[in-house]
């Protein structure tokens, strides 16, 4: 590669970075503007909007609600996802491919379609819209991600480890709990945080299946309809920082675990 092409390529890269980050930077900047109207010029700065956010009980309860849904749906999808990954990791059996395909399906269906079909399905069974319905829908959507991440890790577990556990007196359940599960830890942490972020970010499913209580994205949407205000920028910035930190932490931890002390 000549110096010239390298220069051009890095310039294209930085242009792309700029394209991604400028909107974010604008959004963050506006959150500090001491005026009700979003836009330039900015004459004075303030932290009032942040104070507002942390005083706004609506925002706080929506945040808590989103966390509740995120954690619950993640736990469910972890259990189901591990279950399917372990099942598919075993010997070939009739219908293996079918189970694999069906597990992946929820990740491929457009959000709006799955949301509507879940709504209809829930109505059919008399399941009221609200917390349970949202958790259920998020969990189904997240299972394929957990399954893929866990299956990738599971495929690297040497079969001799399970043989050794059994040889030393462990029945299959103890072998799973004491050997397989610890081995899967990086995948579980990574997959779990990934699920949390997807669930936290979801608008369409929460909107269609929600009851009276809004999740954070649904609340932001409602607030937007009554007019754009820098408070929304402040909320978005807080969410951005939190999810960003969580994502970076998860990435670092799982990477270290995989190449570091957990590698056999």
């Amino acid at each position: 590669m000549t110096r010239h092409t390298r220069l051009v390529m890095s310039m294209i890269y930085w242009a792309f970075v700029l394209y991604i980050f400028v909107p974010l930077i604008l959004m963050i900047t506006m959150g500090f503007k001491d005026s009700k109207f979003i836009g330039f010029p900015i004459r004075s700065w303030t932290l009032d909007w942040y104070v507002e956010v942390f005083k706004d009980s609506e925002v706080l309860s929506a945040f808590g609600y989103s966390m509740l849904i995120g954690v619950s749906s993640t736990l469910i999808s972890l259990v189901v996802g591990i279950w399917i990954a372990v099942l598919l990791n075993g010997r070939g059996f009739i219908g293996k491919g079918l189970i694999y395909g069906l597990t992946l399906l929820p990740a491929l269906i457009p959000g709006i379609i799955s949301a509507i079909s879940f709504r209809i399905y829930a109505q059919l069974w008399g399941i009221p819209p609200g917390t349970g319905a949202i958790i259920w829908c998020h969990a189904v959507h997240n299972v394929p991600f957990v399954m893929l991440i866990v299956a990738a890790r599971l495929s690297t577990l040497p079969k001799s480890h399970l043989d050794a556990a059994q040889d030393l007196g462990a029945d299959p359940i103890i072998a799973f709990l004491r050997v397989t599960l610890p081995y899967l830890r990086p995948a579980l942490i990574g997959g779990g945080i990934f699920c949390m972020l997807i669930s936290f970010d979801d608008f369409v499913r929460s909107f269609f299946l929600g009851g009276y209580q809004p999740t954070l994205p649904v609340l932001i949407f409602a607030k937007l309809r009554s007019g754009m205000s820098p408070e929304i920028n402040a909320i978005a910035t807080v969410v951005l920082v939190l999810t960003g930190l969580l994502g970076i932490w998860a990435e670092r931890t799982t990477r270290r675990m995989k190449q570091g002390k957990l590698q056999s």
């Binding site: 480890h161 556990a165 059994q166 040889d167 056999s264």
Partner: protein, 368 residues
Amino acid sequence: MTDSQENGAGEIVRLEAINKRFGDTEALKSLTMTIREGEFVTFLGPSGCGKSTTLRILGGFETPTSGRVIVNGEDVTRLPPNRRKVNMVFQDYALFPHMTVRRNISFGLELKGLSKRDIAQRCNELMEFLELSVLADRLPDQLSGGQRQRVALARALAPDPALLLLDEPLGALDAKLRGQVQAELKSIQRRTSKTFFFVTHDQDEALTMSDRIVVMNHGVVEQDGTPEELYFHPTSRFVAEFVGETNLIEGRVDAVSGSDVTLDWKGLKLAGRPPVSGGLQPGKQVAASIRLEGMKLSLDKPEDQPNAVAVRIAGRTFKGSRTELDLRAENAPDFAMRAYVDTSLANGLGEAPVWASWSQEAMAVLRD
């Protein structure tokens, strides 16, 4: 459940007519054998000979198609591995990567439901015995190959098994370390007086460590005996060629009487020893094995040896203190033989024909 048949003296394992099929292939054909307490038994053979299948059947990881496995007088044929008093050292050691050395060793003890104190005590004993004490809190990937191998051994010995299975555990070590570990393993076996069942394809390893070697081929036992018996008195062509290096000559049985066989080889009469299994008739075409170092070379025809052949030296391979000679018999120039002699002697031999001779004891006539 005790077996109706009485146990032989010190017998710890008995395999009765074990057959194992995988689809169309017969991995084991009617394998019957016993292992005595405190023995170091090696199953030796090429890959696919059935040695690993035997090991996995003893461990409980495979169920024989037919036949019985008796351990300590108890029929364990259908018992799963976690309920057998048999432990295994795996080929890749299979140490649990998230557990320290100490936790790995105590794993089997915890599952036996021993008290914390007993576990710690047994663990400490073993770590001291195998010189692992300073490594107690390390994780497996912080250990060298030899150290991992000792941890695997300690972990398998911890539950005090009746039989210890070793699945080619030296394969992953480099050649230099391997020799050292072989000696170590043998000494550990002597000091613990445990019964070791070792599986390998490496005949050197088998000869070095075993009290007894069982040579397997195509799912059947070719020969079962001490390393010396196998080396000096192989009964089949397979054993003669697989264990050590040898010269095979093909001849016709001329006469058999007791422990003497006379062979007719290209017009020469040669004296050898019959196989223990017997079954030689005059007129039968057979092969005989003469080890490389059993062949003596001299300038003059030796008067005291029953077997002497005039040969030419066709090639030399220098191997330090000894030299391998490539020989061609005068009466059969196409037939290559090899001898392994002192280098000083080899240097004294010129291009002129010399005499290769060997004793009756050195020539084992094979059953097939």
